[in-house]
Structures are given as C-alpha cells and as structure tokens.
C-alpha cells in the first residue's frame, strides 16, 4: 500500500500558556485522520529535539518575549515554507505583551523580589534573557497565516490544517476572532 506524501509540520510554543497546543489536542479523533496526512517532525508533543531543515508548515504559539523565543522564531521562518501564528499571543502579543506597559526591570523585580518571601533572587542561569518589548511573531518575522483566538478552537485549527494539507492558504476569519 502506497502512502500519500505527507506534509511535514513543526510546532513550538514560545511565550504563552501552551493552551493553543491543548486546543490542538482537542481535535480528538480527528488527530487519527491527521496523522495519516502529516508528519509532526518537531513539536513539544513529540520527541524530536532538532528542527529539520525543510518543513512544510511551521506553527508557532506564543509571543516573542525572550532571546530564545527570538531564535526559535527566526529558525522556524528559515526552515518552514509556510509559517502559522497560532493563537492571540502569537498574533497580537496578548497577555505576555501586557508587561510592555512597564519597565522590564520593574516586571522582573515584581516577579522575583517584591512578591517572593523566601530567598528572593532574579534567575540568570539556564534561562534565556528577556527582551525589553514583547512582540507578536509578525513583529519579527514574516507570517503567512494568522489564526487568532485565546485559544483558537479545535475546529478552527482543524480547518486551517485541512486547508494547508489540501495545498490551499486558509482564511480563518470566519472561524476565529481575537480573544475567542
């Protein structure tokens, strides 16, 4: 039995709550249908630790808040033919970007000093440095498909992936909205 060529999909989460990935999993039995048509080559949901060089569809959740986020976004743009911003954090910054109204040092102090009772300290080792301004994905790299929502529904994600599998660029505006 010959298997049809599967499209290669990579996903990752940047600064977000991973809720969009949870919503992805909410596709339930449609996931079985999906694995017949896509190869998830890199994702928090699979074991691969290295982003392959040529990916058909890259899906980014979360906003760009740290140097690590920035590197990942640049790598995804470099290696993915089509880049999808999944969810409000990726599309408009959402909750992570609400810290933009404050100075970064104030934010860090608040989180690691002011509100901590035992051994307040600002972590420096093993964590990426924070950027002063949180940006949506398209604030840094070009994005091809925007899927707003907090999170986008499983139906919306299914629709977007189905269209991409079919070789079409989806217009999710009828099934998504900011904050939904």
């Amino acid at each position: 039995m010959s298997t049809p060529t599967k499209i290669k999909v990579a996903t990752t989460w940047l600064d977000g709550c991973s809720g969009c990935h949870m919503s992805f999993l909410d596709m339930d039995e449609r996931l079985i249908e999906l694995v017949r048509q896509v190869d998830i080559v890199y994702s928090p949901l699979v074991d691969t630790k290295i982003l392959p060089d040529d990916v058909d569809v890259g899906i980014l959740e979360g906003s760009i808040s740290s140097e690590d986020d920035l590197e990942k976004a640049l790598a995804f743009r470099k290696h993915c033919k089509i880049l999808v911003s999944l969810g409000d954090c990726a599309v408009n910054g959402n909750v992570p970007a609400m810290r933009n109204h404050f100075k970064l040092s104030d934010v860090v102090d608040r989180a690691y000093r002011d509100t901590v009772t035992t051994q307040p300290q600002i972590p420096t080792r093993g964590v990426p440095a924070l950027l002063s301004v949180v940006k949506p994905i398209h604030g840094v790299v070009g994005v091809d498909v925007f899927v707003p929502g907090c999170p986008p529904s499983a139906d919306a994600i299914w629709y977007v992936l189905s269209e991409l599998i079919g070789g079409r660029i989806p217009d999710p505006s009828t099934v998504t909205r900011f904050g939904a």
Binding site: S85, D88, V91, N92, G93, N94, V95, A97, M98, N100, H101, F102, V133, P136, H138, G139, V143, F146, V147, P148, C150, D171, P172, S173, T176, R177, F178, G179, A180
Partner: protein, 243 residues
C-alpha cells in the same frame, strides 16, 4: 449636531445601493437606509438614537461620480444616488482603521470583561482583521474604579463619544466630556475628577449600556472580582450537626 429632525411631508427618493434599487425618505441618511434594508455597514460612533458624530470613519461609502468618500451616517440620501458600500478599497480602509484602533490602546480581548460582547472585536472579525500590521503603541492609560457601580478603563476606550452623547442628549446630565488632544484624548467625568466624586452623574448607567467596548462596565464583572463567599458553610454545617 442635533439628530436630523423628521419633517412632515418629506419626499421619497429612489437610489441604488450595491446594485439594489431602493426607496427612502429624503430626510434619511445613507446608514439609516442601509440598516432598514439589511445592508451591513460597519460603524462604531454611530448609534441609532444619538446625534451623528461622524468620527469613526468606518461607515464611509463610495458615491458614483464623486472622488471623495462619504460617511453614511452624516450624508442624507438624494435622488438617483449610486452607492457602493463594500468595495475592495473600502474593505482595505476599514481594515486599516480597525487595526489603528487596536494598536492605539490596550485591547487585549482575552482578558477583557467584554470579550464576546464587544463591537470592536466583532468588527475586527467582520473586517477580516486577523492581525495588526502597525506596531502597538504600548501606552498605559489609567482605570477609574471610584464609582460604586461602574468602572472606566481608558485602555479600552476608542473615543466614540457615545457615552458623552447619551449622557448629554438622553439623560440630560452631561457628566461626560472629552479632554486633551490627539491620542491623549480621554473621556472625563465633570471637570476630570474621579467618576465616584462626580456631582452630576445620576448613576443611570446609560453610558455603560451604549459603550461598544469594555471601557465602561459594571463593577463586579471582571475575573478578579468573582469572589466566592463561603463563610456560610461551616456555620450552617455546625448548626445542622447541633440539632
């Protein structure tokens, strides 16, 4: 500007909107005729019952033979008008205007009390705004929670002045007004004192009802205010056991 007065014995004109031949009273505006005939025209500052403001520019339409766009809310119909309400150009302009609004203040739908009931959010979807191309301005605006029943969050305000107009024209209190210039504009109560200290506010809540976004809301509707009071439980339980 007061709402256009309905005159007796007005004439009826015929006009064409998006290829449909329609009739209308000559004292009607284009937006009124469109709403009557279920022709969707986006708008934010226009609200049936309030005076025409003409500021959001979302209801702009194209009139055959005229280069300049017309605001449907402030333009009366005329015999033989040929109007297009949804051309590619108008869609593009509306998209950009909505994007400008989203970028201007802090409109984070996911944590807004009006999520799902917001005209701006709805318009963004209708106009196909799936992302905002212009950079977010990231300016923090204050929140006024001094009123015991209502709250004002300037971050969500789009300066449509519906609150100002309903308070002045319908309630007759004129508690609200606008101060400042450009993006520093803010709606204010009385002489820019906290809402809770306003002498003129009647607490009628009309402003909250007409606000298209989450700028004016009832107190107690935010997530943080959903406080559960469970004191009753041990008391009730003890008394029951005591019986």
């Amino acid at each position: 500007m007061p709402p256009p007065a309905k005159q007796p014995n007005v004439r009826v004109v015929t006009l064409n909107i998006d290829g449909r031949d329609l009739s209308a009273r000559e004292d009607e505006t284009i937006i009124e005729v469109c709403r009557e005939n279920q022709i969707p025209i986006p708008s934010l500052c226009y609200l049936d019952g309030l005076s025409v403001w003409g500021a959001c520019r979302l209801c702009l339409v194209e009139l055959a033979g005229q280069g300049r766009l017309l605001a449907a809310c402030s333009t009366r119909v005329a015999e033989g008008m040929q109007i297009l309400t949804n051309t590619e150009k108008l869609q593009r302009y509306r998209r950009t205007i909505v994007e400008l609004l989203f970028a201007e203040r802090n409109h984070v739908c996911s944590v807004c009390v009006s999520n799902g009931h917001c005209e701006l959010q709805y318009l963004a979807q209708k106009c196909g705004v799936d992302h905002v191309r212009v950079p977010y301005r990231q300016v923090a605006y204050p929140v006024d929670s001094s009123h015991e029943m209502f709250r004002l969050d300037h971050d969500r305000c789009i300066l449509c002045t519906r609150c100002v107009r309903v308070c002045d024209e319908i309630e007759g209190a004129h508690t609200w007004d606008v101060m400042g210039r450009g993006s520093d504009c803010r709606v204010i109560t009385d002489m820019a004192q906290p809402w809770g200290e306003s002498d003129t506010c009647t607490s009628c809540g009309k402003c909250v009802q007409v606000c298209p976004t989450g700028a004016l809301v009832k107190q107690g509707t935010s997530v943080g205010e959903m406080v559960k009071d469970q004191h009753f439980l041990p008391i009730l339980a003890r008394r029951r056991h005591a019986q």
